[in-house]
Symmetry: C2
Subunit: 111 residues, 2 copies
């Protein structure tokens, strides 16, 4: 139980990672496999290129995403999940499933 005590620092850091705006969405976009920048951008409407780039760098620094450069013409840059990133995907899904089941959908502001 020591390993999973109610308050622990690593838990807070995990929530911080998931809580950063767009991070969950980006991880979920990447679970389909190795993706190019534009593919991720298209899967996450509303996310600017600048923010996507920033988030991908953070995820790379945290060891959750790997950036692969293939030296062809034009150079192909792709992103994929590491083992830790892959392990985070079911966590993202458990949050999403709980949210869909239990949180009321608010009226659209544009309606």
């Amino acid at each position: 139980m020591d390993q999973l005590s109610p308050y622990c620092e690593v838990y807070s850091r995990a929530i911080e990672i998931l809580g950063r705006r767009w991070t969950g969405a980006i991880l979920r976009a990447l679970m389909a496999g190795r993706s190019r920048f534009n593919d991720i951008a298209h899967t996450v409407p509303g996310l600017s290129d600048r923010l996507l780039s920033e988030r991908l760098k953070e995820l790379e620094a945290e060891g959750l995403v790997v950036r692969t450069v293939t030296p062809c013409t034009p150079v192909r840059v792709e992103y994929s999940l590491t083992e830790a990133g892959n392990a985070l995907v079911p966590v993202v899904w458990s949050v999403a499933k709980w949210a869909e089941a239990w949180l009321p959908v608010r009226e659209s502001r544009t309606a």
Copy 2:
């Protein structure tokens, strides 16, 4: 797949709930069952009474926690998880397990 599209508002709200400092710890403290205020406070070291009270009110407003008052002398006030709160517990655990497995523990600042 529409129900679990990569970006959705309810997902963000769930993360927001889990991301609020101490909320995860309080939910995990409550999973043992109905608890008094002081029991929760003791289970979550470092959490002030003021903040615990604030968080419990938020969780009550979100339908995750129920406050029960038993009219005895002195009055007994207890908190327990609702069905939605209970459903959130495995989500909290999945985050905690991922964190324990994949996030490096930082050196203690007091060491």
